[in-house]
């Protein structure tokens, strides 16, 4: 009897711990491969690693060098320009398209699919297609000139001052349909009763949208911002396909900067320093957000 009791206790203990046992390999793997390598990268950023990693600490030398490198400032400025325009324009276009689609029009399904399709393409395809469209010798500029406007100029792609905006154009083209779909879902979820009440009270369409519908969609705005922001920060493939970081390094982003230093220049230390700066930037945005979310959940 005593033996059975022991076995029961054992199996009960096992049952209780089963979830832990099942989850722990995955947990260990992610601990090692995500946080372990983050720690490794931070360590490397404090060393003078070149072609191969070395582990002797040498202080903040790599960071000092990073913050005196003009190319790093170009990359940061580009990230700021690109993400603010990309997120802003995609959201504005998305909400306008969603409101227009929400007017109970006839072939809504077809139109929605057309707007949503660019999202199904990879950024590499988008970048390559827009590279040809925007190339002055092949695309829009040549087309309009051939139509009989020989002075028409649209050379943003090869103009260092404007090339970053071509990336915005391609990114917006790709993502505004997706923003539209999310907003449309939000619009549809607004309670009909509220809308009817507003109509009875004599509120016009503009007033209904700005005062009732849009404020009630706050959670949707938040999701759209988060999805677009992470697309903007990891924008690597779009830049590589569309401009290759050029002309010169005019469209460099932190991600392409890091790639260039790690894999083309054999400067692991400097690349690690820039990666840590990117991580710090993301933490600065995410941590306050998580903090407020978690606090809200506890309340």
């Amino acid at each position: 009897m005593a033996g059975t009791g022991f076995l029961t206790t054992l199996s009960r203990g096992f049952e209780r711990r089963l979830p832990l046992i099942v989850v722990s390999p995955l947990f260990a793997l992610s601990l090692f491969f995500v946080y372990g390598f983050i720690a490794w990268t931070v360590w490397i950023s404090f060393t003078k690693s070149g072609v191969m990693p070395v582990y002797d600490l040498s202080g903040l030398a790599q960071y000092e060098r990073l913050w005196t490198t003009p190319r790093w400032y170009v990359a940061l400025k580009n990230l700021f320009i690109f993400s603010s325009l990309f997120i802003g324009i995609s959201m504005a276009l998305g909400i306008v398209l969603a409101i227009l689609l929400d007017q109970r029009i006839r072939v809504e399904g077809v139109i929605r699919t057309i707007y949503l399709y660019p999202m199904a393409l990879s950024f590499i395809v988008t970048g390559t297609a827009w590279k040809w469209i925007l190339n002055p010798g092949l695309g829009i500029e040549k087309l309009v000139r051939d139509w009989g406007f020989p002075d028409f100029t649209f050379d943003w792609l090869v103009n260092p001052d404007y090339a970053i905006y071509t990336i915005v154009i391609a990114g917006v083209w790709q993502s505004s349909g997706y923003a539209m779909a999310l907003f449309l879902a939000g619009l549809r979820s607004v309670d009909d009763e509220v809308l009817k009440a507003a109509a009875i009270d004599g509120a016009g369409a503009w007033r209904t949208y700005t005062r009732i519908v849009l404020p009630s969609m706050r959670p949707v705005f938040l999701s759209v911002v988060i999805i677009l922001a992470h697309l903007a920060i990891k924008s690597f493939d779009l830049v590589v396909a569309l401009t290759g970081g050029g002309p010169g390094y005019a469209t460099d982003m932190p991600a392409t900067f890091m790639y260039a230093f790690a894999f083309q220049r054999s400067e692991l230390g400097m690349a690690a320093a820039s990666a840590v700066m990117m991580l710090a930037t993301i933490c600065a945005i995410i941590v306050p957000y998580l903090y407020s979310e978690l606090r809200g959940a506890r309340r």
Binding site: G50, V51, M52, R65, T68, T69, P70, R71, N135, P136, G137, D155, L157, V158, P160, T243, G244, G246, P247, G248, Y249, A250, A260, F261, F263, Q264, R265, S266, E267, M270
Partner: protein, 417 residues
Amino acid sequence: MFRYMTFAPLVAAAGLALGAPARAEGTVEVLHWWTSGGEAKAVGELKQSFEAAGGTWIDSPIAGGGGDAAMTALRARVVAGNPPTAVQLKGPGIQEWAELGALADVEGVAAAEGWDGVLPPVLAAIMKSDGRYVAAPVNIHRVDWIWANPEVLARAGIDTMPTTWDEFNAAADKLIAAGITPLAHGGQPWQDATIFENVVLGVGGAEFYRAALVNLDPEALTSPTMVAAFDQLRKMRGYVDANFSGRDWNLATAMVMNGEAAFQIMGDWAKGEFLAAGKVPGKDFVCAPTPGGGFVLNADSFTFFKVSGEDNIAGQQKLASLIMSPEFQKTFNLAKGSIPARTDVPLDEFDDCAKLSHADLLKATEADTLVPSMAHEMAISRSVRGEFLDLVTEFFNSDMSSEDAAQRLADAVKRAM
């Protein structure tokens, strides 16, 4: 990288299985990124020669990123303690690995075959670490070439190739007046740097080139000569067409071929494009050195890594000997469009541009005007070269003044050292 590490034991096992019967003959595993066209054909010649001599060849081609992917794989292999026998690796990159103690020397073969006597001293120095050969060069590419379309030049009334940058500017102005793009160029950092180093050589001479681009002397970098070189580079910016940004070098070569542009400044791999299109040197296109009376050297080489096992070491020695054999140097370079690294190989089967290159190489060695290429990773480490490329390409794509450019170049070099 990950894929590589997974397959490495398999490859090694296959090598053992295949290598076992031919134990005394030697086995090599060669890591390279010559995977396209003439390059793949050229490395195929090496494989055939090695197998004809009874060895076992394990091919490890890793394409992508102009060798970046291969370097990543190499790093993983060395860290794992399983380096390939020989790696396509050049310039100061060889010294970086030598300092890490990862290389094996082939001094025995080199001394027995007298490599010192047949290689240009500048090139031999790059192949050595601590005075012992750790790499073997397969070819010499000349970087300071101007390629031209004679028919287009004739249309603008130009009958000789320019021998000074002033003459070049005069010719380019004439071409612009005739409505022809003077310079076919692709706006990629390494192409900008290729023009830049040729301009530095032409404006400052070999002595200055060495001080500024090889020894990185801060005084030379900020000197009036460097400012003058940037002035000339600014002029060149005016000679390219509006659509140059990001263009690949072979498309620029095609512009010269099709008569859309008159000149291209590019290494002699451009010749391969002309020859592949059935053009005849001297008739359909002409080659001439850029002004400066020097020779900008670019050479591919195989670097030997520390391997263990009798069979692998025997294969390494055999490969070194084979790479430097006159027959291989001839067949390889006929396929790749360069000239042999050995200066004693007869060039009867080569074209006129290659013969000119060879003659100028001997002359430049004699006159001490042979300089290693900065743009093609022969002169300085990849990190400093990166700073040069950033600055030159920013200068080429902006309205930065020449004085600022020279000062910022010196600052950037100081940062990277």
